[in-house]
């Protein structure tokens, strides 16, 4: 595979969540994290999963990532069942999970090292491309501890994008950042999504964030974790998190969430 081909946007995946259930055994008994959850996600769709803590949204993300296995049901990516992690589905976590013994370029290259058909010079070029895409070209050889929280998440994003996955799975990646940094990243992630054509599944408990980013917002309720409602967000991009139209959507979604009786951990 040539470098030019490697850097082309890849066809995004279609995901089918097919009657998935998952239980966890804890000290206080069995928690039904997911109860017969089904969901279709189209190619290049940006879907946000929203709900209170314990509603299973992160569990669903982990199962799509292949990090956990469902008790019953299955998830299909382009028709093939998911059984283990794969570079076609990359994950961004709430903690940046960057490796402190590598510099920025080293971190972005980590996933590429495991990708055959590329030599090291090409890997370096690919890494440089994505570091530039997230606006950190001046920090390519910085150490991780020298970066701010927002910059660390940008590196994590570049690292997730570098193996050119078909799906990007994001588990509250901006939750630990300050509001200003978050707003910048909302803009950037929308631009990158449009440029790179990924299917994105984005987990959050922040309703406004979900309304800002998603084509579709899927609401979960906890105990047992179920999908309750879906909202299509019909706003032009790039969207401004502070716009009135967006506020109307988030008010509507928040009202729905509160109706499930467990809205105490839902931030508008």
């Amino acid at each position: 595979m040539t470098l030019v081909e490697e850097l082309q946007p890849i066809t995004p995946s279609k995901l089918v969540v097919d009657h998935v259930s998952k239980e966890f055994r804890t000290g206080r008994g069995v928690v039904k994290a997911l109860d017969d959850v089904s969901l279709n996600i189209a190619e290049a769709e940006f879907v946000c999963l929203v709900g209170a803590s314990g509603c299973g949204k992160s569990t669903l993300l982990n199962i799509i990532a292949g990090l956990e296995q469902p008790d019953s049901g299955q998830i299909l990516a382009d028709g093939k069942p998911i059984s283990e992690p794969g570079r076609d589905r990359m994950v961004m976590f709430q903690e940046h999970a960057l490796f402190p013994w590598l510099d920025v370029t080293g971190n972005v290259m980590f996933g590429l090292k495991l990708k055959p058909n590329l030599n090291n010079a090409e890997r370096r070029d690919v890494a440089r491309f994505y570091i530039k895409l997230v606006g950190l070209e001046r920090f390519a050889s910085s150490n991780i501890h020298e970066l701010s929280g927002g910059m660390k998440q940008r590196v994590a994003l570049a690292r997730a994008l570098a193996p050119n996955p078909r799906v990007l799975l994001m588990d509250e990646p901006f939750a630990a950042l300050d509001a200003l940094t978050r707003e910048q990243l909302y803009g950037d992630i929308q631009t990158i999504w449009q440029a790179r054509k990924k299917t994105i599944v984005f987990v959050t408990h922040n309703v406004r964030e979900a309304a800002c980013l998603g084509n579709r917002v899927v609401l979960f309720s906890p105990h047992p974790g179920r999908i309750r409602e879906e909202f299509k967000i019909e706003l032009d991009r790039p969207r401004d998190i502070n716009s009135v139209e967006l506020a109307e959507y988030s008010t509507e979604i928040t009202r729905a969430l509160k109706g499930y009786g467990t809205g105490e951990e839902v931030a508008e």
């Binding site: 999970a97 490796f99 501890h145």
Partner: protein, 262 residues
């Protein structure tokens, strides 16, 4: 320039401190507090060291000792790190080798000398065995500790990027444990050094005459200038080893992890 001045002042402070120590020592000898047989003048020690360097005894003894130390310590590291990885990852190893390591680490390694003599006789292998026993267990424990302290998110992240278990162990768990492993290496070095000196003083081996034997020889001859001279050599080697072997690693760790100051 400012940095250079700071470094210069620090070096000067250090030199002044040791010069003062030597002067104090000289003054005590001059006052006649102790007999000069028990505490020779710094100049006598210096003369001994110069003489020993000139006739080659000091350098050849130091070479013999360093050889034993580096080989034994190397074996300790090469065995200790994989053993530590195993005890951290598998309960079977943790419940067996892990417990053994913890127990043997508390055993001063000079306690191995009597057994070792019977097993190996007065050979180089005996010396190596004692040094390995001195350094191995702290390497096992440090590596084990390091791997257990790696945030689980690291291996999850590596898995999503397509890393298989062996790859994760070598390229994620191992580098992530480096801060622990390096401090374990320092401790292992100190233990190896102590145990080798003890063994060399305790056991006379015909295959090589090390610093410890030179020291013991000085005691037998009541040549305190020799004893103190060798002690100083041992201290200086320890300091140099710290600077040469460990400082580069520690600087790397400080730079990458952003901990402490280099």
């Amino acid at each position: 320039m400012n940095n250079f001045l700071v470094a210069f002042r620090r070096a000067l402070t250090c030199v002044a401190f040791f010069a003062a120590l030597i002067l104090l020592w000289h003054w005590l000898v001059q006052r006649g507090t102790w007999s000069s047989i028990l505490l020779p003048d710094p100049s006598a020690v210096w003369d001994y060291l110069v003489g020993a360097v000139k006739d080659g005894t000091l350098l050849s003894a130091a070479a013999v000792t360093m050889r034993r130390l580096l080989i034994g310590y190397g074996i300790g590291i090469v065995l200790g790190i994989p053993m530590g990885l195993l005890t951290a990852r598998f309960r079977v190893f943790s419940d067996t080798i892990g417990v053994l390591a913890l127990g043997l680490q508390t055993l001063p390694s000079v306690c191995w000398v009597p057994l070792t003599l019977l097993w190996f006789g007065q050979t180089e292998s005996a010396m190596l065995f004692v040094v390995v026993m001195g350094s191995l267990w702290s390497m096992v424990i440090a590596t084990d500790n390091g791997v257990r302290n790696v945030p689980p998110i690291f291996s999850r992240a590596a898995r999503t990027m397509g890393a298989k278990p062996i790859y994760t162990l070598l390229f994620v768990m191992l580098p992530a444990s480096l801060p622990f492993i390096v401090s374990g290496m320092k401790q292992g070095w100190a233990f190896a050094w102590r145990s080798l000196m003890a063994a060399e003083i305790y056991v006379t081996i015909l295959t090589g005459f090390g610093l410890g034997q030179l020291l013991d020889n000085g005691r037998a001859l009541s040549a305190m200038d020799q004893v103190i001279g060798i002690m100083i050599v041992i201290i200086v080697i320890g300091l140099l080893a710290d600077k040469i072997l460990f400082s580069p690693w520690e600087r790397f760790l400080h730079r990458r992890w952003g901990t402490g100051r280099a």
